[in-house]
């Protein structure tokens, strides 16, 4: 066990793309934590998706030994956190495991929405925040201006902030010295009963759940019995130790102030919830650490296997993902159109996208996902209150006394020239203007209260395109507000396709209904007969398009030598049909195989249609829609 005053526990926080992971790489190198030949970019982000997208999804920790200028060797525990608004709670728990945070700010872009949000999270968690100005090698870098911004906007002294380039390795020792010098050493009493904060956990098929924790008080030893204070489960610690960039180093015990892992043959990651406190069974702590909460999903979506027979595989895959991601929730649901699947709850859109991509890539599943939905609160005429996360469960309008939808306070930081466009956009999305502040001459912060529903539609994409990507967005759930909501149904060939239904504000119903019908018309291949595409509220049709019948699909010549070829052709067409789904009487081909074949824009409501095996038994119910493209990763 290391002396407390030789330990520094810190996180790196930043707006996306400001260089957090690159700085982490440099710190690792400087401390020779990784052999040069093993070094690679974004070494802490070892999930393929993380590397590809340049984001951090899972929190991770690493222990570095730094021989400082004062001749002492310090233990630096770097806890890498996800940066996205979806993972705020995870971030806050990771931060709670630290005494300080290094705030990375891009020397040309300056303070952005997530810079602010993450800094406030860190300050709220009582952390010492040390700014670092990164990317000083860029031509547009203006470290002095950015330092002033940090002081003016955030109120952190930044005069002495190191000016670095993580990419080119400029001035990295200054950051390390600053960490040792300016960050407080952890406090904690190793003689008290054990209290360790879980900030993440990961499932390993050999060892079971690996719990990442920070010891706040007491000591955790190999072989001791521990209890999860909020979960209640009890385990015997099998192995305890320190975390390295590559692998783990078992130790006998870890004391207050230290960061590490333990394993205890834990089968289920949900028994080790992020934020929970680990204590000893023999000498339990009286009080758990503060700040644990049960995270509630913000966004729900139906997830179905493209091939109905793969339902058990999807269930297993979700189970496995859940081992590593306690914030993922799912329960079985079924749809007339899509068969058996799961209603999944996600922390936000990014989280949703990541889970879907991981299901597809790591488990090789083809998915059909329904449009994301927020959770509505409906008070019925009989006084009962229901939370509705699935449009299928939306009650009949006559039974609704009050319908409410979740609102968020959105904070948008943008160069002033885009303010007009953003205001139009927010207005259009039922945003309520709160205020506008000039952060400096080049940046304005706008606040709007907006329905979350509008944000998950395609707000982020619209914002990016209207501001050429300069605006940044952050939001916080503020509560529920009464709203004039309706359920919009889509009918193909006269049959409601349950999977296409969604809830929206009445004022939006007409234009959106029209748009959906148009899009479906464009994307559903012609069938052997005409198909009406309709959108309806209750029994009232509010939009209609017609898909004309297929006119021609014929092989003109078929003589002796053509027969084998023709048979192969039919075989091939049949293979295509295997990837079809019938919606009522409409068959839908699934183009989802290739993510680049994006037939449907990413966040559009119905961005999810796919296919059934054509059932000849019910020819009477047979048409086709090309499936929605698999959604594209957003960067």
């Amino acid at each position: 066990m290391t002396d407390l005053d030789k330990i520094r526990n810190f996180s790196i926080i930043a707006h996306i793309d400001h260089g957090k992971s690159t700085l982490a790489d440099r710190l690792l190198e400087a401390c020779e934590a990784v052999e040069a030949r093993d070094m690679e970019d974004q070494i802490l982000d070892n999930m393929d998706l993380e590397r590809e997208r340049g984001i951090t999804i899972k929190a991770r920790a690493v222990r570095l030994l730094y021989p400082a200028a004062d001749g002492e060797t310090y233990v630096l525990n770097l806890i890498d956190t996800p940066g996205h608004v979806d993972f705020n709670y995870e971030v806050s728990r990771s931060l709670a495991a630290c005494e300080g945070a290094v705030l990375v700010v891009d020397a040309s872009q300056g303070v952005e929405a997530q810079t602010l949000a993450n800094t406030y999270l860190a300050i709220d968690a009582g952390l010492e925040v040390l700014p670092v100005i990164n990317k000083i090698d860029l031509p547009a870098a203006d470290p002095q201006r950015v330092k002033r911004e940090v002081e003016d906007i955030i109120g952190l002294p930044a005069e002495d902030a190191p000016e670095i380039s993580a990419k080119n390795g400029i001035n990295i020792p200054a950051v390390l010295e600053m960490i040792v010098r300016d960050l407080p050493a952890p406090e904690g009493d190793r003689s008290l009963p054990l209290r360790a904060l879980i900030f993440d956990s990961q499932y390993d098929s050999y060892k079971g759940v690996i719990v990442y924790f920070r010891v706040m008080d007491g000591v955790i030893r190999q072989g001791m019995d521990v209890r999860m204070m909020s979960g209640g489960a009890v385990y015997k610690v099998v192995e305890v130790g320190y975390l390295h960039p590559r692998g783990m180093e078992p130790a006998e015990a870890l004391g207050a102030g230290e960061v590490g892992y333990f394993t205890a043959s834990i089968k289920n990651v949900s028994d080790t919830r992020v934020g929970d406190t680990v204590t000893g069974v023999e000498h339990p702590a009286a009080e758990p650490l503060q700040g644990y909460k049960d995270v509630q999903p913000m966004v729900y979506s139906g997830v179905y296997p493209a091939d109905g027979a793969k339902y058990p595989e999807l269930r297993d895959a979700l189970e496995k993902l859940k081992l590593n991601d306690a914030s993922l929730s799912y329960e079985p649901e079924s749809s007339v159109a899509l068969g058996f699947g799961f209603r999944c709850g996600f922390l936000g859109l990014l989280h949703m996208e990541i889970i879907q991509l991981r299901l597809e890539r790591e488990f090789n599943l083809d998915l059909i996902t329904t449009a994301p939905s927020v959770v509505y609160r409906v008070t019925r005429t009989d006084g009962t209150v229901t939370m509705i996360d699935n449009p299928l469960n939306y009650p009949d309008p006559t039974e609704i006394e009050l319908a409410e939808e979740p609102f968020v306070r959105a904070s948008i930081i943008t160069p002033p020239e885009y303010v007009g466009g953003i205001m139009d956009l927010c207005q259009d999305r039922r945003g309520e203007y709160i205020d506008m502040t000039y952060l400096d001459q080049s940046r304005v912060e706008l606040h709007y209260d907006m329905p979350l529903n509008e944000i998950i539609f395609d707000f982020f994409d619209c914002l990016k395109s209207r501001t050429r990507g300069y605006a940044s967005l952050d939001y916080d759930l503020t509560g529920y507000r009464a709203s004039n909501l309706v359920k919009l149904d889509v009918l193909l060939n006269g049959d409601v396709v349950d999977a296409l239904s969604f809830i929206l504000h009445a004022d939006k119903a007409y234009p959106r209904a029209r748009k959906i019908c148009e899009k479906l018309k464009e994307n559903i291949p012609r069938q052997l007969f005409e198909i009406p595409v309709q959108a309806a509220i209750g029994s009232k049709i509010i939009a209609r398009e017609t898909i004309k019948a297929l006119r021609k699909d014929v092989l003109a010549k078929c003589y002796g030598g053509d027969i084998t070829r023709k048979k192969k052709l039919l075989e091939k067409q049949k293979e295509g049909k295997k990837r079809m789904r019938s919606f009522g009487s409409v068959e839908v081909p699934q183009e989802a195989q290739d993510p680049r074949k994006q037939l449907f824009p990413r966040t559009n409501h119905w961005a999810f249609i796919s296919i059934f095996p054509f059932a000849a038994a019910n020819v009477s119910t047979a048409i086709s829609i090309p499936c929605p493209g698999r959604k594209r990763p957003r960067s």
Binding site: R551, D553, I563, L570, Q573, K574, F614, A616
Partner: protein, 359 residues
């Protein structure tokens, strides 16, 4: 060329030995441009055939010919050899378009070829036509069809142009102003009704004939008959097996001489597969399919097929004849026959075979 004729003769000799009890009722010289082969060589090959096979006196003997290769002398020689049917690739009546299609003849030459064949004594002449050609308007198509009807053949084949990868047209297909599917469909339906009005009944997706002049040879393909072929790339379906010969002429000649294997694809077609082919091929014709014939041949239930047929019957794509008890596709149905046939085959695959005791 003569080496090739000798190889064919030898091959025919071998083939004849395999079919001692067969009476041959159709002979077809087609694929590529057999008319370039010259009447003399054609005569040699036909003679070899008649020596090794029992060819019926009433057999239909067809030659496929390009207009520019047809001569008076050649035609007379063919007639005396025993040929009695000729199929001429007219394609269209517009010389510009013929050039685009890479055809060396003009429409005038095609008319001339027709006259020569008729005068030489061919009583059964078929003309090939194409629609859906680059920039072809409905009017231009009506005009082309009219000019061919004016030539008074006994039989007309109408093919929609399919732009295949590898053809010159394929490269600039986007600039070729090809009529779209709807326009092609309209051209097709116009042809079906016009030809009917002039006494040419549709009997297959692309084939029309005066009564009694349907091509007996091609019907063999569609009705599931047996046929034996000779020459490179030739496909046969004989004694339950479908096989194709090597496409390279030199390899073909060499293999015949040495007795090496010359088939590139050999496929024994089991009855189950034949049931699918029955649907695939019969439904190309107006003779269509029939419950009893189907159930007793393949021991498969007809009901699942009828469900499909009934469904599309109400939509005008299939037709049931009370007189004959047969189901077939309508002209609209022929246009989407790939889809319909697939659905029928699908229904067939999902059905359970009938108990053999029923029959």
């Amino acid at each position: 060329m003569d080496r090739y004729v000798r190889a064919l003769e030898k091959h025919i000799q071998e083939g004849g030995a395999r079919a001692p009890k067969y009476v041959v009722d159709t002979v077809y010289f087609g694929g590529g441009t057999p008319s370039y082969f010259g009447a003399e060589r054609l005569r040699r090959v036909y003679t070899a055939l008649s020596r090794r096979f029992n060819i019926a006196k009433t057999a239909e003997v067809t030659l496929e010919a390009n207009p520019e290769s047809i001569t008076e002398k050649g035609c007379r020689r063919l007639i005396s050899t025993g040929f009695n049917r000729i199929s001429i690739g007219v394609q269209t009546n517009n010389d510009q378009l013929l050039k685009v299609l890479g055809r060396p003849h003009t429409f005038r030459q095609a008319q001339k070829a027709m006259e020569i064949a008729r005068e030489a004594g061919f009583q059964n002449i078929s003309l090939d036509l194409m629609y859906g050609l680059p920039a072809q308007s409905p009017q231009a198509w009506a005009d082309a069809l009219g000019s061919v009807i004016d030539m008074q053949p006994e039989h007309i084949s109408c093919y929609g142009l399919t732009v295949q990868p590898g053809t010159p047209l394929y490269q600039y297909r986007d600039q070729a102003a090809l009529p779209n599917d709807d326009a092609q469909a309209a051209m097709y339906l116009y042809a079906v009704s016009t030809l009917e009005a002039y006494g040419y009944h549709q009997y297959e997706i692309s084939n029309f004939a005066q009564t009694g002049k349907e091509c007996a040879h091609n019907l063999k393909y569609w009705m599931g008959g047996e046929y034996m072929s000779f020459g490179p790339s030739a496909a046969s379906d004989f004694a339950g097996t479908r096989y194709t010969f090597a496409s390279d002429v030199n390899r073909y000649i060499r293999a015949i001489a040495t007795g090496d294997a010359i088939t590139t694809e050999v496929e024994y077609v089991p009855i189950k597969e034949r049931a699918g082919e029955y649907l695939m091929l019969r439904m190309r014709t107006v003779y269509g399919i029939e419950r009893k014939e189907y159930e007793s041949t393949f021991l498969m239930p007809f009901d699942p097929l009828e469900t499909v047929l009934n469904f599309y019957g109400t939509r005008g794509l299939t037709r049931y004849s009370r007189e004959t008890g047969r189901w077939c596709l309508t002209p609209q149905g022929f246009l989407v026959s790939n889809q319909l046939i697939n659905q029928l085959i699908d229904a067939q695959r999902k059905s359970t075979p009938l108990s053999p005791h029923r029959f």
